[in-house]
């Protein structure tokens, strides 16, 4: 029994679109098959008929072309109005780009070098100390201190207040007779 080529192959054969090998097979088959030869000639006639679509209706081309050109111009102008004006594009040359990169690197390095060194946190373990001297009451904590000066203060007695974190010193001015009492509290 003869195996006929597919209808699609016959359609492509009529238009010359088949590959060489498939074309040869269809050709060989059609030489001996009346039905396939008729199908092929139908497809060839169809191609000729389709070509009739190439004939354009007789339009007034000049008028149509002028209308289309005008509409294209209007369309382009409308498009330009709608498009937001874009910022001018700046294109850097490689040299300018390298200079910018160098400058940025320099800035980063200078900021890094100028940055103050982080302080080492000091753990203060010393207790605040209150003590008297000939010139007044002195407060000291670690390496920091403060003195309440009394130039006329005697080397007299100093009272320790109840809390142990406070001191009192009193003296009498020999010239005026005024009594001065200094109380110093530590918090």
């Amino acid at each position: 029994m003869i195996k006929h080529p597919s209808e699609a192959d016959l359609a492509l054969f009529a238009g010359g679109e088949l590959s060489r090998w498939r074309r040869w097979r269809v050709e060989r088959h059609a030489a001996e098959c009346e039905d396939c030869r008729r199908d092929i000639s139908d497809f060839e006639a169809l191609r000729m008929e389709s070509a009739a679509l190439a004939v354009l209706p007789e339009v007034s081309w000049d008028r149509l072309a002028a209308e289309m050109k005008a509409n294209i111009r209007v369309g382009l102008e409308a498009g330009e109005c709608v498009d937001a004006p874009s910022a001018p594009r700046v294109v850097f040359s490689p040299r300018a780009l390298a200079a910018c990169v160098s400058l940025a690197a320099l800035l980063v390095a200078s900021v890094f070098l100028e940055r103050p060194a982080p302080r080492v946190a000091q753990v203060e373990t010393a207790e605040p100390v209150l003590e008297t001297s000939g010139s007044g009451i002195q407060f000291r904590e670690g390496d920091q201190g403060m003195v309440l000066l009394n130039r006329h203060a005697p080397e007299g007695p100093v009272n320790d207040l109840a809390t142990g974190r406070a001191m009192q010193q009193s003296y009498v001015d020999s010239e005026t007779g005024l009594v001065t009492i200094n109380n110093v509290y530590v918090e």
Binding site: L12, L46, R47, A51, A52, L53, E58, A65, G79, R89
Partner: protein, 174 residues
């Protein structure tokens, strides 16, 4: 530093020349796919506006013409897809030919309607492939390029289109 941009006048002249040189060809190409003067006119305008908005593509004239055909084919296919079957309408312009008798005109018009009824049975891509190959006379390779698909796909579209049309014609003859 930056690329030189042609002065506006030169660009406008180039645009006008580009439109004049390609307008008829693109209009006919679209008309054969959509089968309607009014739609072909709208789509042709759309194609040129799309193309001229990307002027960087127009530097090489040969490539630009090919690129334009591709846009035209795709625009026509998209149109057919959006609108389903093609709607044919009468042309308003004077279609009388001085060399044709009224009888010939009627026959030609009927034959055209008959063919166009058959084309309505095809998908948008089948129709475009058939028109480009059998009406425009493009090679299968050129059709593939214009339709952005492989040659095998184009062959498949063309074969389907011819088979459908043949069945349609056989049915009408009975």
């Amino acid at each position: 530093m930056s690329e030189l941009v042609p002065p506006p006048l030169e660009a406008a002249e180039r645009q006008n020349r580009f439109v004049s040189e390609n307008l008829r060809r693109i209009f006919i190409q679209i008309y054969r796919v959509v089968g309607n003067i009014a739609d072909a006119q709208d789509l042709t305008q759309e194609v040129f506006i799309k193309a001229l908005q990307r002027q960087d593509q127009l530097k090489d004239e040969q490539k630009a013409a090919h690129w334009l055909s591709k846009i035209a084919t795709n625009t026509a296919i998209d149109f057919l897809r959006r609108h389903g079957r093609v709607a044919y309408c009468e042309v308003d312009f004077d279609t009388r030919s001085h060399e044709e008798s009224p009888e010939d005109m009627v026959l030609r018009s009927e034959h055209r309607d008959y063919l166009e009824d058959g084309l309505r049975l095809l998908t948008a891509r089948e129709r475009a492939a058939l028109v480009l190959r059998d009406v425009e006379g493009c090679s299968a390779e050129e059709v593939a390029q214009q339709m952005d698909c492989s040659k095998a796909t184009v062959r498949s579209h063309i074969a389907n289109a011819r088979v459908k049309l043949r069945r349609y014609m056989a049915g009408r003859r009975r």
